[in-house]
């Protein structure tokens, strides 16, 4: 792995030469999420390089980038769902393992089996399991909290529907309700807007605004560049490395987008491919 850690940051950024040099981050101690020099690889092939991020308190932060840019991986690695090659992740200044209760994760909708024999209320109630603790059963108050969360996303009428009988948008709202019932400070959402109907899209936007008004911090993987300016206070442009990060108005520029979505493989991704091949005899 020494190959991966020995390069200098200057080399990395020389690739995107039109961009101003990013400043070395300061990592404020109380940031909801602070990632320092995180590198993640799948089967030795790096998919995220040296990510430095500090997510400020109380903001809606979007993550955009092309397919395979490592957007979902960024969230998963921050939550220890996939192993990191190197790097450190702090949630409100402490390691994530000590701060689980502060964080709620909304995975991609396709990540679960929707034929599973549970109803919408069951799924939302799962959000309370962390609070309940091992081996303790679910009590009525937890189910009531889950029902309230379903109400907040306009799904109370569907509480007892088996989840495969819900539309895609409704399933997404169930997932959001499950995150709400966790009552976290930091929300990590993976493509919540993917493939949802107009009503759900509005419901999600309202929800995001409510969360921000309550001082929560939300990190959203997003795919629709059209709505970026409208939805997010801050933006992270990601393509295997952080291309740019900052207030949406400053970061959402043609030059940055070009650097993120530019069609050709960068030297970096070619090198990643070489690293993966190197393993093979």
């Amino acid at each position: 792995m020494s190959l991966m850690t020995n390069h200098t940051p200057q080399r990395l950024h020389a690739d995107a030469c039109e961009l101003p040099q990013r400043q070395v981050p300061r990592h404020p101690a109380d940031a909801p999420l602070s990632i320092h020099d995180m590198t993640v690889a799948y089967h030795r092939k790096p998919v995220l390089w040296d990510v430095d991020l500090d997510i400020p308190q109380g903001k809606l932060v979007g993550i955009v980038g092309p397919n395979g840019a490592g957007k979902s991986t960024l969230l998963k690695a921050a939550l220890d769902l996939v192993p990191k090659v190197s790097g450190r992740v702090l949630v409100y200044g402490k390691p994530y393992k000590k701060q689980r209760r502060m964080v709620a994760y909304v995975p991609q909708r396709e990540s679960v089996d929707w034929d599973f024999p549970v109803d919408a209320l069951d799924v939302v109630t799962m959000g309370t399991y962390g609070r309940i603790g091992w081996c303790v059963p679910v009590f009525r108050k937890h189910r009531r909290a889950a029902l309230e969360a379903l109400e907040r996303v306009g799904m109370a009428d569907y509480a007892h529907r088996q989840i495969s009988q819900l539309s895609g948008g409704q399933q997404q709202r169930v997932f959001l309700a499950r995150a709400l019932v966790q009552d976290a400070q930091l929300y990590l959402m993976d493509e919540p807007f993917a493939g949802v109907d107009a009503a759900t899209e509005r419901a999600i936007v309202t929800l995001l605004h409510d969360l921000r008004a309550a001082g929560r911090t939300v990190l959203v993987v997003h795919h629709d560049l059209q709505t970026v300016r409208e939805y997010f206070d801050q933006l992270i442009l990601l393509n295997m490395r952080v291309v740019a990060h900052g207030p949406t108005d400053e970061v959402f520029t043609d030059a940055n987008l070009h650097a993120t979505y530019g069609g050709r493989l960068t030297l970096l991704s070619e090198a990643a491919e070489a690293l993966a091949q190197q393993e093979r005899p």
Binding site: A104, P107, S111, F116, V118, M126, P137, R178
Partner: protein, 439 residues
């Protein structure tokens, strides 16, 4: 009670204990889509016993039991390793691991190594529930060991699922969420693998290591067809497991005699009965059953036909060609290409609902029917406009799609369609789009 009946009762009791003990891990395996893991683990009981004997040189049940369970767990671990390091799917990985171990078991059993012990491979594979039951009755064994073992395993399984109920539930449904909540999905996986290994080892003596797979998976799969609730999955698995055992026990002694043969192996008959139950439920289950699916489909196509009749009559009125030739059942049937029974059912239902009425064998729309029909035709033509102008589908293609879409369009969707197509007066074919209300 005759001796045969007493033996039969014991067969059913032992079998039921097996079935209930297996239902618990089996349900979880089916829900986690790891059914074949039960298969893999139960196959490695054979090498497990052989290796345990080679190490301890004793036929004591306890070391044998522990050895078999450990090999079962090793199988689960090896499957994960091969899958991860070899980058294979779990099916391939299991196929490699358990066949190798199973073959090793066969080699050890049939070689001179174990000649001295009477570990009968056949007995390991098929079990000896009949022999166990007979010995209880004939040899007057007070409380057979199998009863204690199975009862203990059953109690353990019930306790574990009771205690870790919500942990099993969340890690089966969404492992990533479970991990992010601090409920290790990996720990739950290996807990289930341990339960599966212990259960298969305990059950193999009675039903054999192959039939135990059927007991793990088939009742749970049957339950999956029947219920949409996690908790009920366990209840139904137990019910179907016990039904299969009772059915199998009875069938094993009765069915062969009808054809002039002697009674067959009960364990095998139990598995066959379980399979038949599965087929029966698959056919008759109210929600996922074939029968209800066909009934539902038939009801759907009748509704579509009724709506098509209304639409057709409306279009005929529009063209002002309603006369004796057009409104007859025969004409409607021919235009709509419907069968005689279906069209008669559809017409009768429409008449009963007061949407059409017949005068001298010629059908015409009533006022209520005209309202419904207008809505349908409006939806159809709005869809055509939408498809042609918004989706840029060629005008000569849109009719067929609109024909399908008009039957699933709600009022709310129709409103939105009208908004998005800017309330057109005419559809792409130049036909008038009827207004939403009465004219």
């Amino acid at each position: 009670m005759s001796v045969e009946v007493q033996i039969g009762v014991w067969v059913a009791v032992l079998g039921s204990l097996c079935a209930v003990a297996c239902a618990v891990p089996g349900t979880l395996l089916v829900l986690r889509r790891q059914s074949m893991m039960g298969d893999a683990i139960s196959h490695t009981v054979l090498p497990g016993l052989a290796i345990a004997f080679l190490i301890t040189h004793s036929r004591d049940p306890l070391p044998m039991f522990i050895g078999a369970v450990l090999i079962g767990l090793l199988t689960a671990l090896a499957v994960q390793w091969v899958q991860r390091l070899g980058r294979m799917d779990s099916g391939t990985s299991m196929g490699v691991v358990f066949t190798t171990l199973f073959a090793l078991g066969i080699v050890l059993m049939s070689g001179d190594l174990l000649r001295s012990v009477d570990l009968d491979a056949k007995c390991v594979l098929y079990g000896n529930v009949d022999a166990a039951a007979s010995s209880i009755i004939l040899k007057q064994v007070a409380v057979p060991r199998e009863l204690w073992t199975l009862g203990g395993v059953l109690a353990m399984n019930a306790l574990l699922v009771g205690v870790f109920y919500k942990e099993f539930k969340v890690s089966a449904f969404d492992p990533a969420l479970a991990d992010s909540l601090g409920i290790s999905s990996r720990a739950m996986h290996y807990l289930l693998m341990t339960m599966t290994a212990i259960t298969t080892v305990a059950a193999f003596e009675v039903v054999g290591s192959i039939i135990v797979i059927a007991m793990l998976i088939v009742p749970a799969a049957t339950a999956y067809l029947l219920t949409d609730r996690f908790g009920w999955m366990f209840v139904w698995s137990v019910v179907f497991g016990v039904l299969a055992v009772i059915g199998g026990t009875v069938a094993a002694v009765t069915v062969p005699t009808w054809f002039g043969y002697t009674a067959t192996v009960s364990a095998g008959a139990m598995a066959v009965a379980g399979g038949l139950l599965f087929v029966g439920v698959w056919f008759a289950s109210p929600r996922h059953g074939l029968a209800s699916k066909y009934v539902h489909r038939a009801a759907m196509s009748l509704r579509v036909l009724r709506e098509d009749v209304l639409g057709l009559l409306y279009r005929l009125e529009e063209m002002r060609v309603v006369d004796h030739a057009e409104g007859t059942p025969r004409f409607l049937r021919r235009v709509l290409d419907a069968g005689p029974i279906a069209s008669r059912l559809a017409l009768r239902a429409l008449e009963r609902r007061g949407l059409i009425c017949a005068t001298a064998g010629v059908y015409a729309l009533t006022d209520a029917g005209r309202d419904r029909a207008r809505r349908l035709v409006r939806t159809h033509r709005l869809w055509e406009s939408y498809l042609a102008h918004h989706m840029h589908i060629p005008v000569d293609h849109v009719h067929g799609s609109a024909e399908v879409l008009e039957h699933v369009t709600t009022d709310e969707m129709q409103d939105r369609l009208a908004d998005e197509t800017a309330q057109p007066m005419y559809d792409p074919h130049g036909k008038r789009v009827p207004p939403a209300g009465r004219e």
